[in-house]
Structures are given as C-alpha cells and as structure tokens.
C-alpha cells in the first residue's frame, strides 16, 4: 500500500520561548484521515509542538519558531498567511473543557460558524446538529440546546468543545490531552469518537496515556527533552521501537 499523502508536515521546526528552546529541529509528517499520537514525559515539548501547528505558540509569551510548518504544501508561517484564517482550518481541543460560559449549548457550537459570516438560521441549525451528532452529544442535549453550556458534565463539555471545533469544518483537528480531566467513561467516549472523526479529519493528539496512544492512533511520535526521538506506525513503535529511550518510556521505566 502506498503512503497516503502528507497533510501536515514540519521541516526542521524549532520552537522558542524568548531565548529558551522548547523544541529542537523536528521534522515530521502527518497523513490525512489518520490519528497521530504525540507521546513523551511532561515538558518534552509535545504540547508546544502541537501549538506550532495552528500558530497558537506565537501567542504564548515570547513564542517564536524557526523552520517550516506546511499545511497541504503551504507554509503556514508565510507572511501572507492570516493566522486567524489558518486556525479556522486547524481546530484545537484543550486539556480542560472550555465551553464559553455565557453561551448556550447551541451558541457554543455556532461560535466558530458565526465568524465565517452569512449563514441563515436554518443552515446554522443544520450544521450545529450535524456537529453535535458527530461529537456523539446530540442525543443527550437535543432537548436543551438553549441551556447554558456549563450545565453539562465534564465529559459532555469536552464533547461540546469537539463539536465546536469541528463545526466550521476544519481540515485538521489538534487535541491536547483531551481526556486528561475526564473519568474513564468520558475517556472511552472520546476515544471512540476519534475513530469516527478520522474519516473526515486529520487528527493529531497529545496524550500522557500510553494505552490511549496504542488504542487510538495510527502513527506515534515520541518526544523527549525537546527533540523528536522516534516516529512511525503505532504498532511498530509499541512492539519494536528502534530507540532505547522509546522502549524505556513505553515500558514505563521513566516519565
């Protein structure tokens, strides 16, 4: 089988906070319609890496990069690229659920859609419903869309955030430890969701949970001390890692 074409690529990417290097010289590529896991101990740079893919890194204090990040072959750090437009194509879900507290469930999902301008009420309702169905939340909230989003449980809030992220039809979805604050049941639902989502989106997920990476991802990249140590198909990474460090981390000897 031929390698699927790369959707997102990084080329000698180095990410800095002021004069501190958080990430050194990472070259990686992510194929479309797959789930890509980023693993590694805390502070290894995997979250920073994720945040360079939608230019959120540059919003952190002192954040800047060298090297290139390509989305469908185009450098997203090109001066001609509008970061706001880019973030509508590369969505992001965070560790803690972040519903907008003053908005209803419906308004939360519609929040990103309103940016892209003129949608009729019917179109808006249709997309909101589709996104909520996609995020496996529709059945639980269809009768209370006007309710405040904070009334939902943590797991529901996180699925709401996923619905909000996919509503504007991004091409890539980044997830930064999306299940870290959830109970096992909520975690399981999100993991099942990833299988559904990868049919339409390219997914990059940062996780602290080795079993999670093994369960949900097609490829895995291992980060350690600001460098990308090893990457490859998940099965190979977990059964026959090339690097001793990878093996040590995966088998739980450190991190």
């Amino acid at each position: 089988m031929a390698e699927p074409p790369a959707r997102v690529e990084t080329d000698k990417l180095t990410a800095m906070y002021g004069k501190t290097t958080a990430l050194r010289n990472v070259t990686l590529s992510f194929a479309s319609n797959q789930v890509h896991a980023l693993i590694g101990p805390s502070g290894c740079g995997k979250s920073t890496f994720l945040r360079t893919l939608n230019r959120m890194h540059e919003l952190s204090e002192g954040g800047w990069i060298t090297g290139r990040v390509l989305l469908d072959g185009q450098d997203i750090y090109d001066p001609g690229v509008n970061a706001m437009q880019l973030r509508r194509k590369v969505g992001m879900v965070f560790q803690r659920p972040t519903p907008f507290p003053t908005m209803s469930i419906f308004e939360n999902v519609a929040a990103g859609l309103r940016l892209n301008g003129r949608l009729s009420g019917a179109q808006l309702g249709e997309i909101v419903e589709r996104s909520l169905r996609h995020a496996a939340l529709w059945d639980e909230v269809k009768d209370r869309l006007k309710l405040n989003a904070m009334a939902l449980s943590g797991g529901q809030q996180q699925r709401l955030c996923i619905a909000r992220t996919i509503a504007p039809s991004p091409e890539v979805v980044l997830l930064d430890e999306p299940t870290a604050s959830l109970d096992p049941q909520g975690t399981q639902r999100i993991e099942e969701l990833l299988f559904e989502l990868k049919r339409e989106y390219t997914i990059v997920i940062v996780t602290h949970n080795m079993q999670q990476a093994a369960r949900v991802s097609d490829t895995t990249a291992f980060f350690y001390l600001g460098t990308m140590v090893e990457s490859g198909p998940t099965r190979q990474m977990f059964t026959a890692p090339r690097s001793d460090q990878t093996e040590a981390y995966i088998t739980g000897r450190f991190g």
Binding site: N54, M56, L59, M84, Q85, L86, R87, R88, G91, M92, F94, R96, T98, F100, P101, T102, M103, S104, A111, G112, L115, L147, N148, C161, R164, T165, P168
Partner: protein
Amino acid sequence: MNRRAIRRLASNLMVGLMVLAVVLAVLPLFFILLHLVLKGASSLSWDFFTKMPVPAGETGGGVANAIVGTLIIVGTASLIGVPVGVGAGIYCAEYPHSRLTWLSRFVADVMNGTPSIVVGVFAWTWIVARQKHFSALAGSVALALLMVPMVMRTTEEMIKLVPNSLREAALALGYPRWRTSLSVVVPTTLPGIVTGTLLAVARIAGETAPLLFTALGSQYLSFRINQPMAALPLTVFTYATGPYEEWHRFAWAAALVLILVVLLLGVGARLAIGRSSVANG
C-alpha cells in the same frame, strides 16, 4: 483533654473571631443607617419628594430639584466615565505589557489617591472659569474624572480573573483578539464589571466637594446641564450647616434619600444582571 477536643476548641475560637470581625465591620454601617432613619424618616413625606424648597422660615417644601439634579449630574458623569473606564480597563487587561498600559495604571493609581476637592478645582479651572458661570456639566466632568480610575482598575482586575484557557479557546477557533475580548472574555466577567461600576456610581453620587464650585446648587428645578443645578449632597451640606432647626431635619432626610437612591441603583442593576443572565442561559 484529648487532641480532638483541643482542635475543636481552636476551630471554634477562630470562627468566633471571624464572626466578631464581621460584626465589627457591619456594625458602623448598621448604626449609620439606623441613625439616618431615626433622624430623617420623620421628615419624609410625599411633599419631600415632589415639592421645591421653600424660603427659610417657612415650613413644608421638599427637595425634588436636588433629587432630579443628582440623577442628571451622576447620570451624565456615568455616561462619560463608564465607557472610558471600562474601555481602558479592557485594554490594560488584554495588553498587560504595553507601555500605554503601564502609563494608564500609573495615572489611574495617582488619580485614585487624589482628593476629590482637587478634581473639583480642576473642573472649575477648565470649565467654570472659562465659561464664567457655574454648570452641572462641570460637576459631571469632575465626577467622571473620579470615576474613570475606579472603573478602570476594577474592570482590569475582573478581566484578569477570566482563565487564559477561555481566551485561548476562542483564539483557537479563529477569533481575532478584539472579538475574543468583546464576545467571550467581557461577557464572562460582566457581572463583576457591572458591580464595580455600580460601586463607582455609588461613590460619586455622594461626592460633595467637587460639586461645591461646579454645579454649585440651586433653589429651582433645572434640566439645563449648562446651568447651576441642585444635588442631594449639596442640599445636605447647605441644610446641615444652616442655622434653622427645620433645615437640620431636612438635611437628615436628604441624606437618607441619598442613601436610598444609591441602594435602589444597586438593587435595580443587580436585578437587571440576573435577568440578562437568565435570558442567555
């Protein structure tokens, strides 16, 4: 005595001390209110709210002109001061490292410490002295100047309480910064901003010194912002320092009304917030 009993004793002692502190903090307020009601309530009547003042020596009359005047002067001051204060507060919270933020904070802190009578003198120099007559507008400007730093600092502090993760969530959706502030961050903290603004309104509603040589006071009902106008604090000041027994009773009543107006403002706005958040939810 076992350890558990000692711990319980210590706990009860500390709770008792805290209750004492709360009582000590609330007691003066309670006594002020009680005193005002005892001294002022007897003079309150329908006439007091609807009639104009009468010449010294006559009985009856009211302070309708001062109530209307206070509403106009404080309302105008809020119209000027609240947008500027809230806007500056948002700017300072969202761009904490800019030079302008550093400067505005510094100026606001200095202004917060400036005696209100100095601000009154400033308004007198710049508006009254140039126009060559007293005016309510000059009073409003003085009060607005007092209000801006208070509103600005509370707005800033309130916005800083909004977790950064919420801001990032909006930015990651492709929101521009200004829209992140206005449609996500500010609504989230709106009750706090409104409360801070109300405290500022209540503060300036009772200010007397800046009005002494700007709005001046008046015996007549006036709606002209460019002319001298009556105000409750001025009425209290004039009547309380006057020689007549009748005036003293009126001063107490006017002070009571002033407090009631401030209380009403607060309660009304709180109801308004409650309703709007229900509508959103």
